[in-house]
Symmetry: C2
Subunit: 120 residues, 2 copies
DNA sequence: TACCGACCTGAAGCTACTTTAGGTCAAGCG
DNA sequence: CGCTTGACCTAAAGTAGCTTCAGGTCGGTA
C-alpha cells in the first residue's frame, strides 16, 4: 500500500506518518527498491490504532514504548494489555472532562440567551 | 485574589495564566502597587471558562477573538453566543471521536484477553 | 524530451505551553 | 539587625507534536 492510501485509511497526514516512523512508532515499515515505503495491511491497522491512541491523548513517548512491546510479539501481550488499560482510564477521564465542559458551555449559552431576551 | 488561588480554582497552571495574559486573553487583570496581579471573582470565572474552552480544543487565536468580544461588553453578546455555539459543535465532534476510539480500544482489549486465554 | 505527480529527505517554522535564570519584596526568626 | 524563606515578577530558552518548505528522485504521459 502507498503512503497516501494509508493516510486516507487511518486519518493521519502523510507527514505525520513519516514523522511517526522517524520517531520509532513503526520502524518495521518496508521500502521498495525505489526507496518508497510499502505498507502492509498490518502496518495500516497499527497506524490506525496509533491514531486513535494519539487522538485521545496518549503521549508519543508512551506510544513508542507500546510500539516496542508490539515489536517483541505475543509474549508481551500482558504488558500491552496493561498499557491499553491504563489508557482506557485516561479515556474515561477525558469523558468526564468533556461532560464537565459541556455543562459550563451550555450554562453560558443559556445565560447569553437570557441576556439577548432582555435586550429584545 | 492571588494568582496561586486562581490557578487552583480554574485548573490552569500559574505560568499558563501569565502566558494567557501576555497573549491577550485577559488584558484587564489589575496589578497592585507591588506589581503583583490582583484577580477579581469575574477574572477567575473568565479564566475558568477559558480553561474549559481550551481543554476541549479551542485554539488560542479563537479564544483571543472571543476575549475581544468579551471586552467590548454586552452589545457583542450575539457574536459571543455564535462563537460558543460554533465551539459547541466542535465539542460534539470530540464526543463522536472519543466514542469511536473507545470502540477501537475495547475491541483491542478484547482481542488481547482472548490471546491471553489461549496462552494460559 | 519535457513535464507532471507522487514519493523522498532534512531543516525550519508553528502552537501552546513549561522550565529556567535571575530579581523584588514582605514576613518571620535568631 | 541581618538572614532566610516563600510567593510573586520578567524575559528567554526549551519541549512536544506536528506542518511546511526547499530541493531532489523517480515512472509515466503529451
Amino acid at each position: 500500500m502507498r503512503i497516501s492510501e494509508v493516510a486516507e485509511r487511518c486519518g493521519l497526514s502523510i507527514s505525520t506518518i513519516r514523522f511517526y516512523e522517524k520517531s520509532g512508532l513503526c520502524p518495521f515499515v518496508q521500502r521498495g527498491a525505489d526507496g518508497k515505503r510499502k505498507f502492509s495491511k498490518a502496518d495500516s491497522d497499527w497506524l490506525e490504532l496509533l491514531a486513535s491512541l494519539r487522538s485521545t491523548g496518549m503521549p508519543l513517548e508512551e506510544m513508542r514504548a507500546f510500539a516496542e512491546l508490539y515489536a517483541s510479539g505475543d509474549d508481551k501481550i500482558a504488558e500491552r494489555k496493561a498499557a491499553l488499560l491504563a489508557h482506557r482510564r485516561r479515556l474515561d477521564d477525558r469523558q468526564t472532562e468533556l461532560d464537565r465542559c459541556r455543562v459550563i458551555l451550555d450554562r453560558k449559552l443559556q445565560r447569553y440567551a437570557e441576556i439577548m431576551e432582555d435586550q429584545a
